[in-house]
């Protein structure tokens, strides 16, 4: 059994990856080879020590981010994702505007009612005027044209509310983007600083090693000169 073979069988035995017959044979060899037996004991104690490492290794949450190199492949999907985000933002803004309108109108208690004399729109509680023959009493009613004007005005207000909501959403997105850029910038700066520190340390170590070697060379030369001098003086 040569050295390589002995190592290989030692590992098989140590990790219990031997056939029973082979195992018996190896145990016989061990009984007659104290050096190999000692090596096995050393390996077993080292293994036992390694197994005592009960450090709790807990993985954190995993966030999978595709690397930059794949961006070209995924441009289309990224674009569609961006479109989706924009569409979602728009829908959210419209919903917010409608809710806001409802809130405003419910606060003002808009009343719209139709009668055979026209359409009555009022804010707050309004009671329909009693029918009378006096022409002055018709002032509470509005014409169809005025009704459309008013609706146009309401639509304009809705548009303004929506525009404001959209503007706010855009500003929020911009703010988030700026935050992300700021975070990335900080991160890359830190990495750069770390890299610089590593480079500096490397240079310092190199310098130290070179200096040490220089000293060693100097010492060797001095020793040689000394030895030559001694030899010359002996001659």
């Amino acid at each position: 059994m040569d050295k390589k073979d002995a190592q290989s069988r030692l590992m098989d035995y140590l990790y219990d990856e031997m056939e029973p017959e082979e195992r018996r044979e190896f145990e016989e060899i061990l009984q007659n080879d104290s050096a190999l037996k000692q090596e096995l004991d050393d390996m077993q104690s080292t293994r036992k020590l390694l197994q005592q490492d009960d450090t709790e290794i807990k993985p954190g949450n995993l966030l999978l981010i595709k690397p930059d190199s794949d961006t070209s492949k995924n441009d289309r999907s990224r674009f569609s994702k961006r479109s989706k985000i924009f569409t979602l933002s728009a829908v959210a803004a419209i919903a917010a505007a409608i809710l806001l309108s409802f809130a405003v109108f419910s606060f003002m208690t808009l009343q719209v009612s139709h009668t055979d004399r026209g359409t009555l729109i009022s804010f707050g509680s309004a009671t329909l005027p009693q029918e009378t023959n006096e022409p002055d009493q018709t002032e509470a009613y509005i014409t169809k044209a005025e009704f459309y004007d008013m609706m146009d005005e309401v639509q304009d207000r809705n548009s303004q509310v929506m525009a404001t909501a959209l503007q706010q959403t855009r500003e929020q997105h911009q703010q988030q983007m700026e935050d992300v850029i700021q975070t990335l910038t900080t991160y890359y700066n830190q990495r750069r600083q770390q890299d610089l520190i590593l480079v500096s340390e490397g240079l310092a170590q190199l310098e130290e090693e070179t200096y040490y070697k220089f000293l060693q060379t100097e010492q060797t030369i001095e020793d040689l000169i000394f030895a030559l001098n001694v030899q010359q003086s002996n001659d």
């Binding site: 390589k4 190592q7 290989s8 030692l10 590992m11 098989d12 990790y15 990856e17 004991d41 050393d42 390996m43 077993q44 104690s45 080292t46 293994r47 036992k48 020590l49 390694l50 197994q51 005592q52 490492d53 009960d54 450090t55 290794i57 993985p59 954190g60 995993l62 966030l63 999978l64 981010i65 595709k66 690397p67 794949d70 590593l198 340390e201 490397g202």
Partner: protein, 191 residues
């Protein structure tokens, strides 16, 4: 669910299946990377990259039954790449460290008997970091992941004899480092 079936579903583009696969393998890959670097941030980074590569390339995996070896190979290669990228300053050479250890041998350090388990864990992680990369990978896969020699050979794409040889020298080197740290009497000789 059977892992082979799960992998085949992932190969067909089933994202839920991929999530389940990540759940299954997340801990193992993180543990491997953590023991390789003894650093949480590096371990997290390697784990993340491993699953991204897995997602990108799993469709082309011709032998799904060898997924285990394949994903460990990805993780191991990424660890080696990271070492290259970092200019190999994340690990100290064994010889250099033993020199350092010789230097501090006479200093007042915590006596063996006072070593707590936590400290022991830290010391063992440091000892692993001292080993050459290929020996460290084999020790982690064998000792902590409990893989067979055949499986490790498959992961590293090396003959079994090479794997055994690396493990042999890895264990010897670990013992050497620990002995130099004066840990011999309380632990190593109680084996």
């Amino acid at each position: 669910m059977n892992e082979l079936l799960l992998i085949k579903q992932v190969q067909k583009g089933d994202r839920d299946a991929f999530s389940r696969l990540v759940e299954t393998w997340h801990g193992k890959i993180y543990r491997f990377a953590y023991r390789f670097f003894a650093d949480e941030a590096d371990a997290h980074d390697i784990t993340q990259k491993t699953f991204i590569k897995t997602y990108q390339n799993v469709a082309g995996l011709k032998e799904p039954e060898k997924f285990s070896s394949w994903i460990y190979r990805i993780a191991n290669n990424l660890c080696l790449d990271e070492l290259k990228r970092a200019g190999r300053r994340k690990s100290t050479s064994l010889e250099a460290y033993i020199e350092q250890a010789d230097g501090i041998e006479g200093e007042e350090t915590a006596p063996d008997t006072e070593l707590q388990n936590k400290e022991l864990g830290t010391i063992l992680q440091k000892a692993l970091l001292m080993l050459p990369d290929e020996q460290r990978a084999v020790i982690i896969l064998k000792e902590y992941e409990g893989l067979k020699f055949r499986e490790i050979a498959d992961i590293l794409e090396e003959p079994e004899s090479t794997v055994k040889s690396r493990l042999y020298y890895g264990l010897k080197s670990t013992r050497r480092v620990l002995t130099n740290w004066n840990i011999k009497h309380e632990y190593l000789n109680n084996g």
